[in-house]
Amino acid sequence: MRLSNARDRFVSEFTFPIKREQVLDTLGDVEIDGPTDDPETVSEVLGRADVESFDSAEELYDTLIGLMGSEYVGRRFYDDRGSNTAIDIEEVSL
């Protein structure tokens, strides 16, 4: 599951509020696609959450994003031989 598809999945599969255990029962084994070779599952990520329930799809999504491992952030375009900060496409500017 891509992070960009997660909200649609949450909305279509769950009724809110929902307990974390119910989320894990349904989606716990689903891997979150990312730039690493060893993607985490929903269960592994939400296992780090200190909340037991979610009031909305937005809260669940925000929790997931907030708990993604540091190995996810910035890895896809990481290059230890050069710059990693800019988006390397030409853009218009105001």
């Binding site: 649609d8 909305v11 994003i65 993604m68 996810y72 990693n84 988006i87 853009e91």
Partner: protein
């Protein structure tokens, strides 16, 4: 061809909840895409931002690049079926109000309609205050933001030859979601005739 409907609202108006309710009404034929989610995923992978707040504070150049990437992503997703796309047609930044979509993104998405979710300014203000999300980065000029959004919707409408619908979300997001689903269904029926 898939029928893509773009939904927008001033932050705090409840457009996200309305879209989620409409998605449930429409069923699995439709996919809900939150453009902010797509941009945040791309920003996370690039190490540009780790939260919505950081995303909002990115340079405009980077935001525009992320918008373009989101447009490309949505175009790819559109090949799999119709989309309900939740976005902001106007983005408030420290540099001022900026367009939420570039011409390239609009061309990629090919919207069938624009739906502006609206509510009285005082109600939007109350929802912001009651929300668990922070709206500190947004000014209190809600009426001006609403005006810009209406103007942006019609400008995008002219560029894409798609109509604009106005939905008032002043009571129940469930009822407004049902109205949105009706509009989307109508657009879908028109496209198949």
């Amino acid at each position: 061809m898939s029928v893509n409907v773009i939904v927008s609202g001033v932050p705090g108006v409840g457009a996200t909840k309305v879209c989620e309710n409409a998605r449930r009404e429409l069923g699995d034929e439709y996919t809900l895409i939150n453009v902010g989610d797509v941009m945040l995923e791309e920003a996370l992978e690039r190490g540009l931002a780790t939260s919505r707040d950081e995303l909002a504070r990115l340079r405009f150049r980077d935001q525009r690049a992320l918008q373009r990437r989101a447009g490309e992503y949505i175009a790819r997703e559109s090949a799999n079926g119709p989309l309900l796309i939740n976005t902001h047609l106007v983005v408030e930044t420290p540099l001022g109000y900026l367009p939420g979509m570039g011409p390239e993104s609009l061309a990629e998405i090919v919207p069938a309609a624009f739906v502006v979710v609206d509510a009285p300014p005082e109600q939007i203000r109350e929802r912001r205050e009651q929300s668990r999300r922070s709206y500190e980065q947004f000014s209190s000029s809600i009426p001006f933001h609403k005006q810009l959004q209406s103007a942006a919707a019609f400008s995008y409408s002219l560029q894409s030859n798609a109509p604009v619908y106005h939905l008032i979300n002043d009571e129940s997001a469930t009822a407004t979601g049902e109205q949105l689903a009706t509009i989307v269904g109508m657009m879908s029926n028109l496209a198949t005739q």
